[in-house]
């Protein structure tokens, strides 16, 4: 089970807590990678890499898009899921973000979930915006792109649609056991006799 927990460090206490277990520390690292920029899904990271590679000003002169900062970027396979879960925008913690961000004022982590893998890139804000625009173009009418501007983080339109459907219209929940019976009954009625089906 991949540990995709988000520990939101409301009070910027991260640096002060040295006595953490390794497990805890790895969680923290992932938090700062993920940052607060949110994530894209259904956007091919290879595409992103090429966009980044083409335009990124790399002070160290490397072509490798994976910046070797004090915070490492990496691509890890996430646990396989039945459905590609939409990764919603994280809550806004701009004060804390500034406290924990060690990437400098320009670059922030950008996390992409795609096809069972997680890729993290350190990109400056304008680059991230252009990536997102590109993703929107490439996907045509795909509605799964997360806006980069975290200050006005609205949920992706897909999720918005979901919320609108559900808003004010939660269906009456039925117990699972009763639901199973109702389905079985429907089955029985559509079969003439148990032996015919």
């Amino acid at each position: 089970m991949s540990r995709a927990s988000v520990e939101l460090d409301f009070f910027g206490m991260e640096e002060q807590n040295c006595c953490k277990s390794r497990f805890q520390k790895s969680l923290d690292r992932r938090l700062s990678f993920r940052g607060l920029q949110g994530a894209l899904s259904k956007v091919n990271p290879e595409l992103i890499k090429s966009v980044i590679a083409s335009g990124l000003k790399n002070p160290q002169g490397q072509d490798n898009v994976y910046q070797m900062d004090s915070n490492k970027s990496f691509s890890v396979p996430s646990s396989p899921k039945e459905t590609q879960s939409l990764f919603p925008a994280l809550p806004l913690l701009t004060p804390a973000a500034r406290a924990t961000s060690e990437n400098g004022p320009e670059k922030a982590p950008l996390t992409i979930f795609y096809n069972g893998t997680v890729s993290v890139f350190n990109v400056p804000r304008d680059k991230a915006e252009s990536i997102l625009k590109l993703a929107v173009e490439v996907e045509g009418n795909s509605k799964n792109v997360e806006p980069i501007d975290s200050k006005v983080a609205s949920p992706p339109s897909d999720r918005q649609q979901l919320l609108e459907t559900l808003n004010g219209d939660l269906p009456i929940a039925r117990r699972k056991s009763l639901q199973r019976f109702l389905e079985k009954r429907k089955e029985r009625m559509t079969c003439a006799s148990p032996y015919a089906c």
């Binding site: 089970m1 991949s2 995709a4 927990s5 988000v6 520990e7 939101l8 460090d9 409301f10 009070f11 206490m13 991260e14 002060q16 807590n17 996430s78 646990s79 899921k81 039945e82 459905t83 879960s85 939409l86 919603p88 925008a89 994280l90 809550p91 806004l92 913690l93 006005v152 983080a153 609205s154 949920p155 999720r159 979901l162 919320l163 459907t165 559900l166 808003n167 004010g168 939660l170 009456i172 929940a173 039925r174 117990r175 699972k176 056991s177 009763l178 639901q179 199973r180 019976f181 109702l182 389905e183 079985k184 009954r185 429907k186 089955e187 029985r188 559509t190 006799s193 148990p194």
Partner: protein, 594 residues
């Protein structure tokens, strides 16, 4: 020793007026957990005595504490009930891997809880290996094992239970998701157990159970009193019924259209609690001879219409528990009110939407009013209604003084409801039913105003658990509500869309609240900064975002189910848990302790 003993006696006696010896005897008669809790708070000595003598503990949510803590406080525990997933899991709203693993608890039971004889896991994840560990360590003393709405295990795990737990009086598996490999487990029970009293694998979809093994169990276990099974053709059970001489309770089925009918079936003479799956109007007459004895009748999975209900129920004057669907209709409820004066529990579930298109198969204020006047002993009432009025709720408040658990869901079939909002009726009900401890109200927008929600707060002085759906109009209602409810421990809210800010404020005001579940939570929008206001010491907050689940239903159709997001918040002594699936976000307040 004598001097020290006198000293101890004196010092304790002077503090509390009771010596240890006396208290030690008295405390054995105190069973109620709330009373025990109060006893344990008096002084350290009483706390210790309670800890040593407490027989049963229910941990309402397994993440509120840890197995070690439980064992340290109650080393001689004899009976344990643990609950895992939120109640909403019964309505398919919780991801399967949400959590609630019994493994750490089983480990503690195996190693340290040497007096434990009864284990009840509800809505938890159990592995075959857990059952093996339990069997090997406690198999010789375990008298009661309940895997209640659990999942994660297979019939191999049950094989361990059958082989190792030979002293079981109760094996309860109802509504669990069990991976079926074969029917050897029931054969093991048949071979090894002669003291079984209750066997329940109802609603488990286990089909490889052989009726011969059931017959063998009935022959070997002379005290077999209650049997609830998954699908097994009734005609095959004739031998079983002959053998089970003292059987009082049976649930099973199904019935099929048999050419010769079911005349060959004779039920045991003491049978008084019955539930027969797919029983239709043609099969119904076989139970008529027993109907006057019936104390419990489960028609949830029967195929009876309103008229059938009337015909059957009018023959049941001793009925105490009735479960059925709203096909019973108002007419059926009138028959219940006339015939079943001993009725204590009534549950009326909602049939499928396609059914009940005629008014006959619907329950409304008419049925409720008749019920209120007729069944004065009613203690538990859960009903899905299609229509409602304030007057019917007032009737309930006036007549049903023994009501301790009331749940009402207003279906959305009818566009126009006779009498909304229900402010007056709800107020009258709450004021009248002073013993109410559990209360659920699921309406629709406009069903209850903010003032009405305030009434709920004001008049629910004894209520411990509440489910509120589509009540109130705005945050003001929630804030007014939260001024009351002095004993509310567990609150579930759905479809109300109160702001995070109001939820946070309400949480702080509800003094007894230790568990909050909010469905349809507008999570992670730009205003979710207010979530911060909810953060508290020892308070775990978990968010499951809205998600879409693709399923294949029984007829092979692909169905996309949209699940709204939800928030779960609860007190815990153990801090945030680490065994949650990817889906869940936790808000961690613990850092502030550094």
């Amino acid at each position: 020793m004598g001097e020290n003993y006198n000293e101890l006696k004196k010092s304790t006696a002077s503090q509390t007026g009771l010596t240890d010896v006396v208290l030690g005897w008295v405390i054995l008669y105190i069973d109620d957990p709330e009373d025990r809790s109060a006893v344990s708070l008096v002084c350290r000595r009483w706390y210790e005595l309670d800890a040593l003598t407490r027989k049963h503990v229910t941990v309402a949510l397994c993440y509120t504490t840890s197995p070690e803590r439980l064992r340290r406080r109650f080393p001689h525990l004899e009976s344990l009930k643990l609950k895992g997933k939120p109640r909403a899991a019964m309505f398919d709203m919780i991801p399967e891997d949400w959590g609630g693993y019994v493994t750490p608890w089983v480990k503690e039971i195996a190693e340290n809880l040497t007096c434990l004889k009864s284990v009840h896991f509800r809505r938890m994840i159990v592995n075959d290996s857990d059952l093996e560990v339990l069997g090997r360590s406690r198999g010789e003393v375990l008298r009661c094992l309940k895997l209640d709405k659990c999942s994660g295990f297979s019939t191999d795990g049950l094989l361990h239970v059958g082989r190792l737990c030979r002293q079981l009086r109760t094996l309860f598996l109802e509504d669990s998701s069990i991976i079926e490999k074969d029917g050897r487990w029931i054969h093991e029970i048949a071979m090894n157990n002669s003291v079984l009293e209750t066997l329940n694998f109802y609603m488990t979809d286990l089909v490889k159970v052989s009726f011969e093994d059931l017959q063998l169990i009935a022959r070997n276990c002379r005290n077999l009193v209650s049997v609830k099974i998954s699908d097994c053709e009734i005609l095959d059970l004739v031998g079983f019924f002959h053998a089970a001489a003292v059987l009082e309770e049976f649930n099973g089925g199904p019935f099929y259209d048999q050419p010769d009918g079911y005349a060959a079936v004779t039920f045991p003479s003491r049978l008084c609690r019955l539930g027969l799956t797919y029983m239709g109007k043609n099969e119904m007459p076989i139970v008529f001879p027993f109907a006057p004895l019936f104390k419990e009748l489960d028609l949830l999975y029967a195929l009876l219409d309103t008229e059938d209900h009337c015909l059957l129920i009018q023959r049941c004057p001793n009925l105490e528990v009735l479960k059925t669907r709203n096909v019973i209709g108002d007419r059926g409820l009138e028959v219940v009110a006339r015939s079943c004066k001993q009725l204590k529990r009534l549950r009326i579930e909602a049939d499928a939407e396609e059914e009940g298109m005629e008014d006959e198969g619907l329950v409304s204020q008419t049925g409720l009013m008749a019920l209120a006047q007729g069944c004065l002993k009613l203690e538990h009432l859960a009903v899905y209604v299609s229509d409602i009025t304030n007057a019917s709720l007032e009737y309930i408040g006036t007549y049903l003084k023994n009501m301790c658990d009331f749940r009402l869901v207003l279906l959305d079939q009818k566009e126009r409801i006779t009498d909304l909002p229900l402010d007056k009726g709800v107020r009258a009900l709450l004021r009248g039913c002073g013993k109410l401890r559990r209360f659920a109200l699921h309406l629709r927008p406009g069903g209850l105003t903010d003032a009405g929600l305030g009434y709920i707060g004001k008049y629910s002085w004894n209520i411990r658990w509440m489910l509120l759906g589509y009540v109130g109009e705005s945050d003001a209602g929630l804030l007014e509500f939260s001024k009351g409810c002095p004993k509310l421990q567990k609150l579930e809210i759905g479809g109300c869309f109160f702001s995070e800010h109001a939820l946070a404020a309400a949480m702080i005001r509800l003094t007894s609240l230790r568990y909050l579940w909010v469905l349809g939570y507008r999570e992670l929008s730009q205003s979710s900064r207010d979530l911060l206001a909810m953060a508290r010491l020892f308070w775990n907050i978990e968010l499951v975002p809205a998600r879409r689940v693709v399923k294949t239903d029984r007829v092979g159709e692909v169905v996309v189910v949209e699940h709204p997001g939800h928030l779960l918040a609860y007190y815990s002594l153990e801090g945030p848990r680490i065994d949650f699936p990817d889906l869940i976000f936790r808000l961690n307040y613990q850092r502030i302790l550094v």
